[in-house]
Subunit: 415 residues, 2 copies
């Protein structure tokens, strides 16, 4: 028996209905923020992702040659494609440009709880602006989305990669080796960072200073420890966030984010219920367009791990109840089958979700099926009732039955 | 500059809004028919598609080995994945099972008008029933969908592959070479079919008989020329279709469909506006599950070429107008920026799509931007008006301005 490939999933109707429901909540929230949806291809020139993430990304990429010998790769994320699209098609449009996207991404890694080889990401990019309001706007949308999904326990942490980059550069870390150090700091692996930094000539004192910076965590008052523009900047971001009703944020200068292209504010949201793999959202301000042949343009964006956040909601006990259909139509006898077809068509034309027996089942079996597909009503089409233009409307939850004229059915069902 | 791969597309916001609008019409129509959405992975074990379509499919597949040396392929269609999913996960559920799906498919072929390497398909499968009503239900949904999209010129043609298969078998075509003959008949390439069939020992008379059958086209009355069960069966299908209000169908026994797994009724819809590549929808009844290790189950399904049908609508002059946003908020002075943030947040909380100036633009420039993103209203936050809890509401189409209390904005904008 052929199964779906390892690390991928089939979504059955109940699960899919739930996913679409929440996906549309994200889409709707993005709409209220004036973000507009885009879509890019499932695969891209592999070079695009290498330019964004460095050659290391190759080991996790689904990369292959197409029949025209092009190196292509299934997208592992959608920021690079979105910015490529901006460079190709949107760079002359009035700024700022606010776009979002939702879709499958692919990463070849060991599948585990909440991590799949085919996973779903929601993301947004605000392109062409670099102000505290820009960053606040983006964080505020991320927070509104998580709230719209109904997740209760989550924490936003806001940092600034610029201050850390400056500090490690001042301490003597060469620019081309900064990523090495930042990766260790991201995971708070100070013991592993020490020999690397020592090797680069960083003094013990400078090192401890840097480690202390990454441990700067707390309310907006911890920014007093961050001299200069960065402290002011983040204070303004928090000010705008508060004005927009986003009050539950923490400053954490230990938020590093793995990637080179982040330039300033960086943020993450986590759901404690998820344990070790608790990050549900991450983003920050960056420039990427110049890598893809465009002009340098400042942007702020984020991505939400859709699978991960659904898992967090589930762990909190949130349950989605599939809706079922409005009506199931069945005929009591063979000669009423065409009539039943007419009735179901009239319901559908009135925007009612209605199904009809197509297997010629006896009534008891047909009602059992109607119940299994969660029909609210069964509509029984009999010859005698039809003489008066009526059918029997049966409430599937109570079993109550009444005669209703066919033309009154829509109002009766929708009312 | 990196471009999107050949045969793939970026969908910019206006285009994407239009696509989602029509995609949701399809989804909604499927819902009124009691079909429920599923989703399967973007790639599958390549074997799945070879089992369905034969080894010939390989030359059009995006197939590759993953890092675990598995032969995988981007899906070229979604019937096989849907039926695989049914076999794996849904075979014990009450029948019939009504599912639909929408998503990207991939075919390595020369891109041309309305044909892409990454294309979008909507499809539905009704699994576990084999009655005239089953076929009518499926055709009726396809017709409702095309109607819901607003396409004006289209034609449904209904045939039956069973009668043709029987006839060519009776004429001496071996079962394992039937596909060869059917492919020629599908394209009405009689001159190419003749030597092939002669080689199989088919007499000239039998041949002309078969060709005549594939030319059986017209109203339900042409079924008089089809003796036996098939004629009766199709008459019943048409009867149910008429009862459901689908009257504009044509019988065409020349509808062959390329694939081996079709068993009985087959149908196609075409949009004449598209010229040579005019097919927008195709389907029929089939069995496929037994090929994937399940029990043999009769199903009827169809797929709609989403890109192709959008092109047909466009050729008919159908235009989608992007909606734009409700309100754009700007502040007249630096000290009102936090207030503006408050105002925009209050609008969004009231489910209004609202944007806010984040670039500190002067009023004229900010209004110009508001107009470029099609904002219905601009909301101007000034210090003096704010003393009375008011802002200036500017109707962007007329230029009319009025003072409105902040708390009255949602009602004013939505009303």
């Amino acid at each position: 028996m052929i199964q779906c490939p390892r690390g991928t999933r089939d979504f059955l109707p109940d699960e899919m209905e739930k996913r679409r429901f929440y996906e549309n909540k994200l889409r709707h929230t993005a709409g209220t923020f004036g973000f507009r949806e885009i879509e890019t291809p499932i695969f891209e020139d592999a070079e695009l992702f290498i330019l964004r993430s460095g050659p290391n990304v190759l080991k996790e990429l689904y990369a292959f040659k197409d029949k025209g010998d092009r190196e292509i790769a299934l997208r592992p994320e959608m920021t690079a494609p979105a910015i490529r699209m901006f460079v190709n098609n949107m760079s002359n449009e009035p700024k700022p440009i606010k776009i979002f996207y939702f879709g499958q991404c692919f990463r070849y890694e060991r599948p585990q709880s909440g991590r799949y080889r085919e996973f779903f990401q929601f993301g947004a990019e605000l392109i062409g602006s670099a102000t505290p309001e820009t960053d606040a706007e983006v964080i505020s949308m991320a927070a509104s989305m998580i709230k719209a999904l109904g997740l209760k326990e989550y924490k936003f942490r806001i940092g600034h990669i610029g201050v850390l980059r400056q500090r490690i550069a001042d301490a003597g870390v060469p620019a081309d080796r900064a990523a090495e150090v930042l990766q260790k700091l991201d995971k708070k692996l100070y013991d592993e960072a020490r020999p690397i930094m020592a090797d680069m000539g960083v003094t013990d004192e400078a090192m401890e200073d840097i480690f202390a910076l990454t441990e700067t965590v707390g309310g907006v008052e911890v920014l007093d420890r961050v001299p200069g523009d960065v402290g002011d900047y983040l204070r303004q971001v928090v000010g705008f966030l508060n004005a927009m009703g986003v009050v539950d944020v923490e400053i954490d200068l230990g938020v590093v984010r793995g990637l080179d292209y982040y330039t300033g504010m960086v943020f993450e949201a986590e759901a404690p219920s998820l344990g070790a793999e608790k990050q549900i959202c991450g983003g920050g301000s960056y420039t990427l367009s110049e890598l893809f042949g465009g002009e340098k343009v400042f942007s702020t964006g984020f991505a939400i791990g859709f699978d991960r956040i659904l898992l967090a909601m589930e762990k909190e006990g949130q349950v989605y109840e599939p809706k079922g259909i409005d009506a199931y139509v069945l005929s009591v006898s063979e000669d009423m089958r065409l009539k039943a077809a007419e009735v179901v068509a009239s319901l559908r034309a009135a925007d009612i979700s209605a199904d009809v027996d197509i297997m010629g089942r006896k009534m008891a079996k047909a009602l059992k099926y109607a119940s299994s597909i969660k029909a609210r009503y069964a509509i029984i089409v009999g010859a005698k009732e039809m003489e008066d233009g009526c059918v029997t409307l049966r409430d599937m939850s109570t079993g109550d039955q009444e005669l209703v004229k066919v033309e009154d059915l829509p109002a009766r069902i929708l009312g």
